[in-house]
């Protein structure tokens, strides 16, 4: 059977420069994301966390490939409601993300944000936005800030890049087009990363848009747009590295469309009845983690024992995160009204 799935030609890894250390780092980050999300599902069904919880399984190569090509703690990241794994890649400790999901004071947003509102000033994670597309202008503003700091305030070190993650559904929203226009106009150090997982809840991408190839929408703004295999961390990383270099050099923004897939329903409350078993199988076979594990062993960058050791280490880390989240204090009720306004 000939598949009708849209994919891009396989990424040629010949030119990839990757040493063992970085290879293991990328692998570990993806495993961290996957393991964390699996644990979330478990905790959700055990009644430990509430509300809408959107998991990222299947899309790990995008978060890892982009964020791990940036400077941790210096560059900016914005996400959506599907934000746990972007937070982890940006360096927010798993225990702080887990504690946030448990609504605890030790959470990265002090239990006030929840699953869809992860924030960390320390890691320049600007959110966690629950409304579709509203993070795009915020990220664009952070990029404007870097340009402003350099050109107006004379700070030569202000070369931070801002990466903004959002979905195929968001790419039909006005804020996407408005921001592409402004970022290209002012040559802002921006990377717009569309994670095209083919679905916006139950709305199939090609039922929602007149031009399903989202990366092409960059061209009308005179902006570079690229499509990448979002199930291949090395492909994403290569595209991100180019985009980061372009942004830092003051040459303006890039739109990266990563073709990817979520392995679970839209949220843990979604019965996920619309997506066909064939489609799910097709994408499951492209699992970015097993694929990268194969690459690492085939290229003698890691042994399967080393990878297993990483898996175990992460498992351990997640267990500890849950323990901490569980044993952490609830927020102090006397601080219910804290954080409305800035404190002196």
């Amino acid at each position: 059977m000939v598949s009708t799935e849209r994919t891009v030609p396989e990424f040629k890894t010949d030119s990839v420069e990757l040493d063992k250390e970085e290879g293991l780092m990328l692998y570990e980050d993806m495993v961290l994301g996957r393991t964390f999300e699996d644990k979330c599902a478990e905790m959700y069904y055990r009644g430990k966390m509430f509300g809408f919880v959107h998991l990222y399984n299947g899309q790990e190569a995008v978060s890892t490939g982009v964020i791990r090509s940036m400077r941790p703690g210096e560059d900016f990241v914005t996400s959506t409601y599907r934000d746990h794994v972007h937070a982890l890649s940006a360096g927010v400790p798993a225990k702080e993300v887990m504690a946030e999901l448990f609504g605890k004071e030790t959470g990265c947003s002090k239990g006030r944000g929840g699953s869809m509102h992860m924030f960390s000033k320390e890691h320049n994670l600007l959110g966690g936005f629950a409304f579709v597309a509203e993070g795009i202008p915020v990220a664009t503003g952070a990029a404007f800030q870097a340009k402003y700091r350099r050109e107006v305030m004379g700070d030569e070190n202000a070369d931070q890049v801002s990466a903004c993650f959002f979905g195929d559904g968001a790419s039909n929203n006005g804020q996407f087009f408005e921001c592409l226009n402004m970022a290209a106009l002012w040559k802002l150090p921006m990377i717009y990363v569309v994670e095209n997982n083919k679905w916006a809840i139950g709305m199939a991408h090609d039922r929602a848009t007149s031009q399903p190839e989202i990366y092409k929408k960059a061209s009308v703004f005179g902006m570079t747009g690229v499509e990448v295999d979002g199930m291949d961390v090395l492909a994403v990383r290569a595209a991100a590295q180019e985009a980061v270099a372009r942004a830092r050099a003051g040459e303006g923004p890039t739109l990266i469309e990563a073709l990817t897939y979520r392995f679970r329903g839209h949220s843990l409350a979604d019965p996920d009845e619309l997506r066909s078993p064939e489609e799910k199988e097709f994408w499951q076979a492209r699992d970015p983690i097993t694929r990268f594990a194969t690459y690492l062993t085939e290229h003698d960058l890691a042994t399967s024992e080393e990878l297993k050791a990483i898996d175990q280490k992460i498992q351990q880390e997640i267990e500890e995160a849950v323990d901490l989240a569980q044993s952490s204090p609830e927020p102090d009720p006397s601080e219910l009204r804290r954080y409305i306004f800035a404190e002196e």
Binding site: F76, T78, G107, C108, S109, K110, G111, R112, G113, H117, F119, S120, K121, N124, L126, G127, G128, F129, A130, F131, E134, I136, P137, V138, A139, T140, G141, A142, A143, F144, Q145, A146, K147, Y148, R149, E151, V152, M153, S162, G174, Q175, E178, C179, N181, M182, L185, R338, Y339, I340, F341, A342, E343
Partner: protein
């Protein structure tokens, strides 16, 4: 002392704060080369350049969101709404992100930004350009809402708003830009959170703001002649309300009239009445009187428009009735 027009007072405030702090910048439609729809930023781009007077495309939600992102990362943006009504298109960024993000982030981020521009009912501008968004926005947590009314307070309040660490919605009024007043030569700041006692008195407390302050003062000419002695308070801060000043006045007069330009339903006055009942019910000798605009889209026709908003004779009449104990 120099005689200064209202819009120039705002311009001076912006200029002084931009000179004082290089992280302050203005963005919005036509704020740069054109100088702002009411000339508040006229020629500032010549002094500060195109990045600090950033002419944006007509994309209110996105440029307001950009200001939020810039504020989160250390700048102090001033968003000019060409007309505050247009910021209905930025409602999401103002409410969810400017207003609530500090809280949802558990205090990770502060959002020092000002959103300012002309609001209110002008002269036959039609319904869409005659909005009083302060009423729509007052329920948003995390926002400060300020309305200026004279060249003096406009300048001092705008400077305070720019220095504030919180998002401030700053309402000017389309019909006040050409008011004149002698302003001090020295620098001054007017605190954001204090109501202004415009005229002390003992008969009745009149709570008002923005252009309606001037309608009240108009009515006062007649009332004074008739021997009435009302206390007039310009609320200035519509959120949070200055209950210290309001309460002190009510303890003195025991009667309250609210004069506002927003519509009656869900207006600033509605919130005031409820809060006054909560806090000062025992002080009241009569129910609080609310003079608000009609609950209708502002009509274009001049006569109908005048009937829509409160006029000075209605204020005078309400004072007479209330003080004579007829209501």
């Amino acid at each position: 002392m120099a005689e200064t027009l209202f819009f120039n007072a705002l311009r001076q405030a912006t200029d002084e704060e931009m000179a004082r702090d290089s992280s302050v910048f203005v963005l919005g439609e036509d704020v740069g080369h054109y100088g702002g729809s009411y000339k508040v930023t006229k020629d500032l781009y010549k002094k500060y350049g195109d990045l600090r007077l950033l002419d944006t495309p007509i994309a209110e939600n996105s440029f307001t969101g950009m200001a939020v992102g810039a504020a989160m990362t250390g700048l102090r943006p001033i968003v000019e709404g060409m007309n505050m009504g247009f910021l209905l298109l930025a409602f999401n960024q103002i409410a969810n992100n400017a207003g609530m993000l500090r809280y949802t982030s558990g205090g990770n981020f502060t959002i020092p930004m000002v959103i300012r521009g002309p609001g209110g009912v002008g002269r036959q501008l039609g319904a869409e350009h005659s909005q009083r968004l302060e009423a729509y926005f007052q329920a948003v947590p995390g926002l400060k809402i300020v309305a200026c009314s004279t060249p003096y307070n406009a300048k001092g309040l705008l400077k305070a708003a720019i220095r504030d660490e919180n998002p401030v919605l700053f309402f000017e009024h389309v019909l006040l830009y050409n008011l004149k007043e002698n302003l001090p030569d020295h620098e001054y700041i007017v605190p954001l959170d204090r109501a202004e006692v415009v005229r002390p008195g003992k008969d009745v407390t009149i709570l008002t703001y923005s252009r309606m302050r001037h309608h009240v003062m108009q009515a006062l000419k007649t009332l004074e002649k008739q021997g009435y002695d009302p206390e007039v308070i310009d609320l200035i801060s519509l959120k949070p309300l200055d209950f210290e000043t309001i309460g002190a006045s009510i303890r003195k007069t025991h009667r309250v009239i609210i004069v506002e330009e927003c519509m009656k339903t869900g207006g600033i006055g509605a919130e005031l009445v409820a809060s006054i009942n909560d806090r000062f019910f025992d002080e009241l000798d009569a129910p609080v009187v609310r003079l608000s605009s009609q609950d209708i889209p502002t009509p274009y026709n001049g006569m109908l428009e005048r009937l829509t908003i409160i006029q000075p004779p209605q204020i005078a009449e309400a004072v007479e009735k209330l003080v004579e104990g007829r209501i």
